[in-house]
């Protein structure tokens, strides 16, 4: 626990140290919820920033990278005020953040108004970057692009064939409910699968017995769970408890090691897809994860991986466009164009990334299945 506190101040120390050194620094703003409800994500991201700055603080001709980090507490009002502060007072060349979809919704229009590129590493809500062209970008994959290969892999694995499913979704979480109501049904229909029922619960629910009993009554061949890791873990545990042994496929919300920790043995065999998972055997990722675990005594999650890669790509853009911090307006345009035209730029943890015309990232996700106590690549 203490290391978390140290990290926060270390990150700030880096910021101060690096600002003291070079004359014309390139400033990048970061908005992360390091306290309040989203603090778990924020802490993870501060860790990732720490690791990144140790290796990559130097940006060649531009001197040292200067990060201005603010805590939004996960609140929309803070996201608004702090975005303005970053763009107009601190005069950053670009902003990485905010993290929550609601925060991004309120911050993106400000980026357009102040003509500053804004890239959110985590926010997964569809359409928000598209509504704020050309200055807003999303690094996380659109869920549609994740679920297409996932569903194909899931269906291929089933000996009995799946014709009818029930969707269990979190109606209070914007992304989960959008996936549950729109994205999944459309993709399922494409594959000729009937959705018997869509049963909902809410973020923070502690009791799923009613929902599962209702799903059980429908006798589906398979189950789709669209929720965040905690709620999904409970729902899956309840499903197994009530004797439902159908195969389960889940949405991006469960991509967190805690899904397995909380759900226990019930999560065995659940399939999901992600571009980042902590048990990726690939050498670069595995080394990074090991480093993270040694320092911070916990497994990294999507939040930290996404922050790290976004930082990396931002730095690549700074170097490749020759931004040196001398002309703010021009710098912002250069960085914007670098992101807008991104084609197969290699992000260390998640692979080749491109940005499409909507400002959303495209990558090839990995299809995963829960085996034992970890996610492994589905064969």
């Amino acid at each position: 626990m203490f290391s978390k506190w140290k990290v926060g101040s270390t990150a700030i120390a880096f910021m101060l140290a690096s600002s003291a050194s070079a004359i014309a620094d390139v400033s990048i703003g970061i908005l992360t919820p390091s306290s309040g409800k989203g603090a778990a994500y924020g802490q993870q991201q501060l860790n990732a920033i720490n690791m990144f700055m140790e290796k990559y603080a130097d940006v060649g001709k531009a001197g040292k990278l200067k990060l201005v980090i603010y805590d939004t507490r996960g609140e929309n009002t803070e996201a608004i005020n702090l975005s303005r502060k970053l763009m107009d007072t601190d005069e950053v060349a670009a902003i990485i953040g905010p993290q929550f979809s609601a925060e991004a919704e309120v911050a993106f229009p400000l980026a357009v108004r102040s003509e500053t590129p804004m890239v959110t590493p985590m926010a997964a809500k569809a359409g928000i970057a598209a509504a704020n062209r050309p200055w807003a970008f999303r690094f996380a994959l659109t869920t549609e692009n994740v679920y297409r290969p996932l569903l194909d892999a899931w269906l291929k694995r089933q000996a009995k064939g799946i014709k009818k499913v029930v969707i269990l979704m979190d109606a209070k979480d914007a992304v989960s409910s959008f996936d549950g109501k729109t994205v999944f049904p459309a993709l399922l229909q494409e594959r000729g699968i009937e959705v018997l029922d869509t049963v909902s619960f809410q973020t923070g629910d502690i009791d799923y017995s009613g929902q599962v009993t209702r799903a059980k009554g429908r006798s589906p061949d398979g189950i789709v769970v669209s929720a965040l890791y905690n709620e999904a873990a409970h729902a899956v545990a309840e499903l197994r408890k009530q004797g439902m042994s159908q195969p389960i496929v889940a949405g991006v919300g469960i991509n967190d090691p805690r899904f397995i920790q909380i759900g226990g043995a019930a999560t065995e065999g659940v399939m999901a897809a992600s571009d980042f998972f902590a048990d990726n055997p690939e050498p670069v990722v595995a080394a990074w994860v090991k480093d993270y675990e040694n320092r911070f005594k916990q497994k990294p999650s999507n939040a930290s991986g996404e922050m790290y890669d976004t930082l990396y790509l931002m730095r690549e853009c700074i170097k490749s466009t020759g931004v040196i911090g001398s002309d703010l307006k021009a710098d912002r345009v250069k960085l914007r164009d670098c992101w807008a035209n991104m084609k197969n730029m290699q992000a260390p943890l998640m692979g080749a990334t491109s940005i499409d015309k909507n400002g959303d990232a495209t990558r090839v996700p990995t299809v995963l299945v829960v085996k034992g106590t970890a996610f492994v690549v589905a064969q």
Partner: protein, 272 residues
Amino acid sequence: MWSSYWDSVAVFLGINVLMGISLYVPMTAGLISLGQGAFMAIGAYVSALLTKSNVPFLPALLAGGAVAAAAGLVAGAPALRIRGIYVMILTLGFGEIVRVFFLNFEPTGGASGMGGIRPLTELWQVALACLIAYAVVWRMRHLRLGRAMIAIHEDDLVAEAMGINLTRTKLVSFSLGALMAGVAGGFYAHQALFIDANQFDFSRSAITFLYVVLGGAANPFGSIVGAAIVTLLPELLRVVQDWRMTIFGTMLVLVAVWRPDGLLPAPRLRKS
């Protein structure tokens, strides 16, 4: 130096002050609402829907306030036969019901919220609205209605014996407060440009309550002081980022214990 950052902070402060006044009004009639967030939500959604259909800002704001006021009449009705604690829990419940409604109401976005709202709010508008609200409150104290409210606050039975129509007075005060909260909601929607049900939940109502009680529930300027402290303190405490809320919470306890009636004292009653 006045930057867009401080401008934004000031706008939200103004909105919070307006919310504080919206609670102060029913409280002077003895109705303690823990559900002002609901009226704010109604005003926000209604005005946003209207401006999206190219209705000008002022009529949209007022329409939002009007619908909120109507909701205030509906919510106020059960509050008439009960008082004190009951009203608090009733309004809390009303707040939750409205939140659940907007969470599910697809035409305004449901859980995904409503985005793309036109950026129409400006600082001078919010400041003006606060001034108008204060003027209304000030005049009220001297008009029959205001004095009726204070009388009810003191003692229901005596007030009724004196000929004051309890029902009407309570309803009017509740509705007026709801209208102000609705207008505040309209300002919020056109500043944040995206709203969802979570913005108007119980913590919104609880914080509004804090503005008034912290500043002094018996004093009309109490809500300015309360709103200012609660809004600006987290900004000033940014240097101790990690401990902000702990310090804030502790301060609340200290103030409540040391000055139970709020920071500003009740103004001395003047002869009519």
